[in-house]
């Protein structure tokens, strides 16, 4: 495999310094590492192999691969990626190809030119990592990666005889630090131009609540302490029992599974014409939704003001016009007393009373009987809740397994153990059986207040489902059967409702989060608040936020004004760096006469008569005197004495005299040597 031919070697001046080669390889590892999770493992193996090959080349054991081997590698790599099962033109496929090419470049990296290419590619890969993840941890890691890559570049410019890897790290850190102010200015002010072509986004698994709901789903979500979203309220945070984060409406039921029906048309609520009885009962808040890969959004009942990127569908669920692929920030105003659909359109009535023809016969019979017995829909719901509350129903996250058909019958009459989806499902089924419009709603219930920042954190384990029934005169009304079986779940969160048995299933972190006065819980809350600020200020700083910042700053946003702001900001940040550099190199103490002489030198330099660095003051004056054809012996003597004789007394008069003499000399030269100087 390794060719034994003696090819002409690269000249010493063009070789990659040993120090830098090591740094380069470290940089490659650092840069590839965060991407490794998103690409197939065999590419990582190829990277390792290339690293080993390059090391062997450096040790003189192996040779660089021959041309045909390299060609073979490239063809095999492209084929390999094509066969790895990525979607065509997906981000993963592109990243895999990039990483593979990056790794293969290592084995043909001979001269400095190649090394610089690898360095620039490394910076590109650093940027690529942000397509997958924009968290604060990623940003911190990539900052370190940038320093390592820069260190490799610094190492390229060190002499062969001076191998100082640590000092290149220091220099690189300094360089990155100096770049920070300008980066900040660019981040704040540089216009976010829409990309010319769209970058395919990562196709990771959808998280959170899905558009199909079987009773097991919420239970498995409950075991996850992943973040769902954060909310910042304008004003006081409502009580836990009022925090019903509505996300999905499940109207279809088939064989034990609830699913969302065909999306309805968007509707528009006119703020003035809302059916609300109490117009001041509005909440305004801002949601930072973690990526869900879907387009539904979470809101409190009932959003009346929302951005243009969103639609409110006829079943009052809020959807985004595009899937949420990165943290989405949206501001809402909800009317808590809003009455939805006082008159129910026929097509919605049909949709919300539909049931599959023949299953769960016991519950159907029970429902019809109950309806006749109670008379009104409202009365029937009250009775059902009463039954849940008083009969032997148990709230648990680990219910007995139910069969596929007639599962609701089994739950309602036999096992009587379950959690929100079971209760809500049974209730909706019963109501629909009795021809009362009802639907299952999925979302989250509750939220933990982070004491550090005051925002609300909603995690996957707060996933919840409840019932909405349509009542004449009241419209769609929310009922939560879980509140009947386990009131503490709704009043004070999941933690209170869990049994020891349930709790054992949850992860260590979930338990730590839910335990209130736990040390780890405090740390988790602190990091959560940091992440929140990161989302608020960095990730959430999008084109819209930027525009509002810019208009606050500039008044009217015009390209000219942005240009001027960029120039001023860039100038200020660069001068900050310059000032810092000058401050570090400032002379420790400057002699008075030395400064006087120094000023003279600067002025003379402007006249074109520069002092050479190694020219002593006296020699300089002598040269100037010869040019000006004057006698300056006395001045030279005094100057030298004042500068270099520590016993000479500095007097203000001497300095004054010296200054005058120097000025005389300068003026004389200004008039006599203008011709020769230029």
């Amino acid at each position: 495999m390794v060719s034994k031919t003696n090819k002409p070697k690269v000249g010493v001046a063009l070789q990659i310094p040993r120090n830098s080669l090591a740094l380069l390889m470290i940089a490659q590892v650092v840069v590839i590492l965060p991407l490794a999770a998103h690409i197939t493992l065999w590419i990582v193996a190829v990277c390792l192999m290339c690293g080993y090959w390059r090391t062997q080349v450096h040790r003189g054991r192996w040779d660089y691969p021959a041309g045909w081997i390299k060609t073979l590698f490239v063809i095999a790599a492209v084929l390999g990626i094509a066969l790895s099962g990525y979607r065509t033109f997906s981000l993963e496929a592109a990243t895999s190809l990039l990483v593979l090419a990056f790794a293969l470049k290592l084995v043909e990296m001979k001269s400095r030119r190649d090394a610089y290419l690898v360095i620039f590619l490394s910076y590109f890969l650093v940027a690529t990592a942000f397509l997958f993840n924009q968290s604060m941890a990623t940003a911190a890691y990539e900052l370190v990666a940038v320093i390592v890559v820069t260190a490799a570049m610094v190492g390229m410019n060190q002499l062969h005889s001076q191998v100082r890897p640590l000092s290149s790290f220091w220099i690189a850190s300094g360089l990155v630090l100096q770049a920070l102010p300008l980066t900040l200015v660019m981040f704040l002010l540089f216009p976010r131009v829409a990309p010319l072509w769209s970058v395919p986004l990562p196709s990771s698994a959808k998280t959170g609540i899905s558009d199909r709901l079987t009773p097991g789903d919420i239970a498995s979500l409950t075991q996850s302490d992943d973040l769902a979203f954060r909310v910042v309220f304008d004003g006081d945070v409502p009580a836990q029992r009022d925090l019903y984060w509505r996300g999905l409406v499940y109207s279809n039921f088939l064989r034990g599974t609830w699913s969302i029906a065909q999306p309805l048309q968007p509707i528009r609520i006119e703020p003035g014409k809302s059916a609300s009885v109490a117009p001041n009962q509005t909440l305004s808040y801002e949601v930072f939704l973690e990526p869900t890969q879907s387009n539904w959004l979470y809101a409190l009942d009932t959003p009346v003001q929302y951005g243009s990127r969103m639609d409110l569908l006829a079943d009052y669920r809020l959807v985004s016009k595009e899937p949420v692929l990165s943290v989405m920030r949206y501001a809402l105003r909800s009317d808590t007393k809003f009455r939805a659909d006082l008159s129910l359109p026929p097509h919605i009535r049909a949709r919300e009373t539909a049931l599959p023809p023949n299953d769960n016969p016991r519950l159907r019979d029970y429902a019809v009987a109950l309806r006749e017995q109670t008379g009104s829909a409202q009365q029937m719901i009250a009775t059902m809740l009463e039954q849940i509350r008083n009969q032997q129903f148990t709230y648990t996250l680990s219910p007995t397994t139910l069969s596929r058909t007639n599962s609701i019958d089994e739950f309602w009459f036999d096992s009587r153990r379950g959690f929100c989806t079971h209760y809500a499902g049974a209730m909706v089924f019963a109501l629909r059986s009795a021809d009362i419009p009802a639907r299952m709603v999925g979302g989250y219930q509750g939220g933990e207040v982070n004491p550090v920042t005051g925002h609300i954190v909603v995690r996957q384990y707060q996933a919840h489902s409840w019932v909405e029934a349509w009542l004449p005169e009241k419209g769609w009304t929310r009922f939560d059967p879980t509140g009947a079986v386990a009131p503490e779940r709704v009043e004070s969160g999941l933690n209170a409702a869990l049994s020891a048995e349930d709790r054992a299933v949850l992860s260590f972190l979930s338990n730590a989060r839910m335990g209130s006065d736990n040390f780890i819980g405090d740390i988790l809350q602190w990091t959560d608040s940091l992440e929140h600020r990161w989302n608020l200020w960095v990730v959430g700083y999008d084109a819209t936020t930027q525009l509002s910042v810019l208009s606050d700053l500039l008044g009217k946003v015009t390209p000219n004004r942005i240009g001027i702001a960029l120039l001023v900001g860039g100038g200020v940040s660069l001068s900050l760096v310059a000032i810092a550099l000058f401050w570090r190199r400032r002379p420790l103490q400057q002699h008075k006469v030395e400064r006087l002489f120094q000023i003279f030198c600067v002025k003379m330099a402007r006249q074109g008569l520069q002092r050479d660095g190694d020219e002593t003051p006296v020699a300089y004056i002598a040269r100037l005197a010869a040019l000006a054809q004057v006698d300056t012996n006395a001045m030279q003597a005094v100057l030298q004495q004042q500068l270099y004789d520590p016993q000479a007394h500095f007097s203000f008069r001497d300095a004054q005299w010296l200054r005058q003499e120097l000025r005389k000399l300068r003026f004389r030269l200004a008039f006599t040597t203008t011709g020769t100087a230029s």
């Binding site: 120094q598 002593t616 003597a637 270099y644 004789d645 520590p646 016993q647």
Partner: protein, 333 residues
């Protein structure tokens, strides 16, 4: 040149320590002029080198003269010993010289029935180590203790060397055959290294027409005595240094430490040597304080043998570095 009345202070500080040294500054100046004149008569057309070697000795430093054979190295060393009135020994270094040949050895005295230390040629006020780099490193290092501590240790007993003690070593350029390069530690102990170079045509003509140098050397008389030499050496210590000058020296040293061309920077001993040499030069120029010109004059002979180019593994070519140092460092901050 300078209207400073240093004189009174100098003499008052001396009277407290030395009685014999109450001499006006003018006499020091004359003595130095006499010394230079006497040496100029023997070694023609080499006034700068003569002044540098005097400055080296006045600064209590050892001198290394490096040049091709026949350039007058030995002559200069011998003449210095003569005019300064010092006891003089010459050690010819060859590849088989051993440390005991230099320091001396303990031998058994049959008459006294006892061991007795016989002093080697090192026991003189001025020792000429001729062609020092022809000896093996082992013998070269016999000089280490003598040069730094001005004493030698034999059989566990330290013996002081006569005061003053100077070593003037000569060496052929290390590119010549049969030489062992001096180790850096040894090099560092020489305050200055000078090269003599070919004489000017006029001086050479005079040399060719003039009498035998050896006869002239014989006729050379001491122009100063030990006490006077002591006064001169103390006067060197009393030369003043100002802050701007120390800044300049520090900038020079810092540049040698951070510059890429330098394999290693100047040691603090190197910086001290620079100041000491500049002081001696200032005294020769009849000044009470050091000016940057003094530093610039002595700098090459002081730093050339202490520096090495980072690209130069063999260890030559300090000369270009000294020029680089001078050219790159600003005199005024």
């Amino acid at each position: 040149m300078t209207p400073i009345s240093l004189q009174s202070q100098t003499s008052s500080s001396f009277t407290t320590t030395h009685k014999s040294v109450v001499e006006p500054r003018a006499s020091v100046k004359h003595q130095i002029e006499d010394l230079i004149g006497a040496l100029n008569g023997v070694l023609l057309g080499k006034e700068t080198q003569i002044k540098l070697s005097l400055a080296c000795l006045f600064a209590r430093g050892h001198l290394l003269i490096e040049d091709l054979p026949g350039m007058g190295k030995t002559l200069l060393a011998h003449a210095l010993a003569k005019v300064l009135g010092l006891s003089y020994n010459r050690i010819q270094f060859t590849s088989d010289v051993l440390p005991s040949d230099i320091i001396g050895a303990t031998i058994f005295d049959r008459e006294l029935n006892n061991f007795r230390f016989v002093e080697g040629p090192l026991f003189a006020q001025l020792v000429l180590a001729d062609e020092i780099n022809r000896a093996t490193p082992k013998s070269q290092s016999a000089l280490l203790e003598a040069m730094e501590e001005r004493q030698v240790t034999n059989d566990g007993q330290s013996r002081p060397l006569p005061a003053p003690f100077f070593v003037i070593a000569t060496q052929n350029p290390s590119t010549q055959a049969g030489t062992f390069p001096l180790p850096e530690s040894q090099m560092d102990r020489f305050l200055m290294r000078i090269e003599l170079g070919y004489p000017e045509p006029a001086a050479e003509r005079e040399l060719l027409l003039g009498g035998d140098r050896r006869v002239l050397l014989e006729q050379l008389q001491p122009t100063i005595n030990l006490d006077q030499l002591n006064v001169i050496q103390n006067a060197v210590d009393n030369i003043k240094i100002s802050d701007p000058l120390v800044d300049y020296v520090q900038r020079l040293v810092a540049f040698s430490r951070h510059g890429n061309e330098f394999a290693f920077g100047l040691s603090p001993r190197g910086a001290l040597a620079m100041l000491q040499g500049a002081k001696a030069w200032a005294l020769i120029c009849d000044r009470t304080h050091v000016v940057p010109e003094d530093v610039q004059v002595v700098l090459p002979s002081i730093v050339e043998h202490r520096l090495r180019e980072s690209a130069d593994y063999a260890g030559h070519g300090g000369g270009a570095l000294a020029q680089k140092l001078l050219g790159s460092v600003d005199v005024v901050s």
